[in-house]
Amino acid sequence: MPLDLEIVSPERLLLSRPVDMVVIPAEEGDLGALPNHAPMIVLLRGGLVRLFEGGQIIDRLFVSGGFAEITPTRVTVLADEAMAPTAVSREEGERRLKAAQEEYDRLDKADVPALDAAMARMQSARAMIEAAGSAA
């Protein structure tokens, strides 16, 4: 029984297809979902969503962060931004990393939620640079 995978960004529905397994970059580490997975809602970090069929990776998509909802029959990825790894730009990643780094340095060190947000942005930017490198 395949798993229905959907990847949506605010601007459009990017992908909707059945897969055997999907590995999503959850905030606390990569998470593989097979059919009949327990229902879960997870936070994503920046990274690659990998689609598996017959034990092989058949497609990869970069997401910069967001959420995923897993139920026994489907996985819905609500990405803040999603694109094919070949469309990821290294320059854009570096620009974002610099902006996030600057914000982190500027922030009041007692403002933990804001620091966490800046850290998450830095991580996402690094993942973007990495994804651009892996596709090239």
Partner: protein
């Protein structure tokens, strides 16, 4: 009766006006198509987000430490109104419908003794409200000269609203925008952004009742909700911006269609007058010649 020359001039000017309005209609029609696709493309995300929010929020909404974005500040004194309008005119009553609704709302709230603040999105709305509500406008945002609206623009507006909420600048936030019903119909409506009306938990079709709403959360509900709520706010703003854009082009298209038709009617009437005047002239000249010949 105006002279033949004056009539010719008027016909020519109405004709060129007609050309302009029919060109504007075509432009609006093609932009409308693009805006409509964008509205439809944004729908899947909004629907799924709503479903997720519904399954999360039910547990948290009642708690005393619920996030501000979900529960509001608990007061109802300062209202922030966010009217969304187009940046350009020539679209019939499209912009003024939102302006009127905002004004009525502001008057009603002030009559109840509430404080009203306005954050105007779109140039036309700002210009309209500036006439009598200038002191309430605390800021404006415009996308004039931009080709299309992206999610990042909506996020910017949402961030501004969140910052103001955190700074305690308002208690209730209402969005006023034109809902895109169809090409010929746009209905102005208000939507509470803070605190929002919670989506009712939608029954899941593909999961048995026993398995429903038994989600595990990673890292935990509060953290996810803290990320989800600002995103949801941005999505709502994004939706309003897109509906506004699509509705605007729809309204402009029908306004320009009307104008083109009216210009056509006017050309017909003027041409009739022109021909009558021309024939009257010919007849008069003939009479003059004949009576001149008879006098000899």
């Amino acid at each position: 009766m105006p002279s033949l020359k004056a009539l010719r001039g008027r016909i020519a000017s109405v004709k060129s006006t007609q050309k302009i309005t029919s060109a504007m209609k075509m432009v609006a029609a093609s932009k409308l198509r693009r805006a409509q696709t964008q509205v439809e493309a944004a729908r899947p995300y909004a629907q799924r987000m709503e479903r997720m929010l519904a399954s999360l929020a039910v547990n948290i909404a009642g708690q005393p430490n619920a996030p501000k974005l979900l529960a509001g500040t608990g007061r109802d004194q300062v209202h922030l109104l966010v009217p969304v309008t187009g940046d350009r005119g020539l679209a019939g009553a499209f912009n003024s419908a939102v302006g009127r609704m905002t004004r009525t709302l502001a008057r009603r709230l002030e009559a109840e003794g509430k404080t009203v603040k306005i954050l105007a999105v779109g140039r036309k709305g700002r210009d309209m409200l500036r006439r009598d509500l200038a002191s309430r406008i605390i800021g404006d945002i415009s996308f004039a000269g931009r080709k299309s609206i992206g999610f990042a623009d909506a996020q910017e507006i949402a961030n501004r609203i969140t910052t103001m909420l955190d700074g305690g600048e308002f208690d209730v936030c209402t969005l006023v925008f034109n809902r895109f019903v169809s090409v010929i119909s746009q209905v102005p409506m208000e939507m509470r952004l803070i605190s929002p009306a919670l989506p009712a938990q939608a029954p899941e079709q593909d999961v048995e009742p026993s398995k429903r709403a038994m989600y595990e959360f990673e890292p935990d509900e509060e953290t996810i909700l803290a990320r989800l709520l600002p995103q949801n706010l941005a999505i709502q703003v994004y939706r309003a911006l897109l509906e506004n854009a699509a509705g605007f082009y729809g309204a402009q298209m029908s306004a320009m269609d009307n104008a083109t038709r009216n210009a056509g009617d006017m050309i017909k009437r003027l041409t009739l007058n022109y021909n009558r005047a021309r024939q009257a002239n010919i007849t008069r000249e003939l009479i003059e010649i004949i009576s001149g010949a008879e006098a000899l």
